[in-house]
Symmetry: C2
Subunit: 146 residues, 2 copies
């Protein structure tokens, strides 16, 4: 049993959204871009790969494919509630990329309703303190069944 | 120019840590597991793929490979400062996986120093309010140079 890989919600999440083009397609929908052609252009994904990734996201319940025109039939992609809940994942990746990978100024800038340019911080939901690794104690991990 | 893909720190971040086994290897190092054999066992990654992913993370400055024994030579992987800064990314993925993908109880549970089981929340660093999509206004996005 102890030789089995860890059971892990990070692994489970990555099975749904762990592909580069999946997260970049979701980025576009968060930015309000809902149509296939525009998502393809803004991400640079090939049409074949993008089609496969969007289908998988729809099947997983992260996106909904909605018909917005009858003649000719046209579709757009909208976030479901699980899809909207991925916002912190994209924010965390953007913030890390801004600080450690991208050269020069941040390519994408958001303003928060408080009036300031938005910078995220991850806190403990209970006490509100910023999360530091040293403040976390592992309670349990589990292994995949053999 | 407007037909170029978006310049994007999410894309830049994913170029470094966007592969499934990269993030799962980093998960292990965050859990205190530093040696190749243990990382391989706990993730279930093949040794070839794990070797390639760890090498890439070391080259990108996310992990440091450190010799801890001379005879025979043995190495361990430790987080650099950019590596430690990925903590919010892993936390956000774990939380989303716990809530929307994993069936049953959370496989991994942490306790925060405040005494409560840890649940993350993403807030605005400036005002401390929880981030809601409706409270974010886009200031600018940019395109990759042609």
């Amino acid at each position: 049993m102890t030789d089995r890989p860890r059971a892990c919600s990070i692994a489970n999440a990555l099975a749904i959204v762990g592909e580069r083009w999946s997260l970049l397609a979701l980025r576009e929908v968060f930015l309000g871009v809902r149509r296939f052609d525009q998502i393809a252009r803004n991400t640079g994904a090939s049409r074949d790969i993008l089609t496969a990734r969007l289908r998988k996201l729809v099947e997983a319940g992260v996106l909904e494919k909605r018909q917005y025109e009858q003649h000719p039939p046209r579709y757009e992609y909208v976030l479901t509630e699980p899809g909207r809940a991925l916002h912190p994942v994209l924010i965390a990746l953007m913030d890390w990329g801004d600080r450690y990978v991208t050269e020069g100024p941040a390519p994408t800038v958001w303003r928060h309703s408080c009036g300031e340019v938005f910078t995220p911080r991850t806190v403990c939901e209970c006490c509100g303190e910023p999360v530091r690794l040293a403040d976390m104690t592992l309670v349990r991990t589990t292994r995949l069944p053999g």
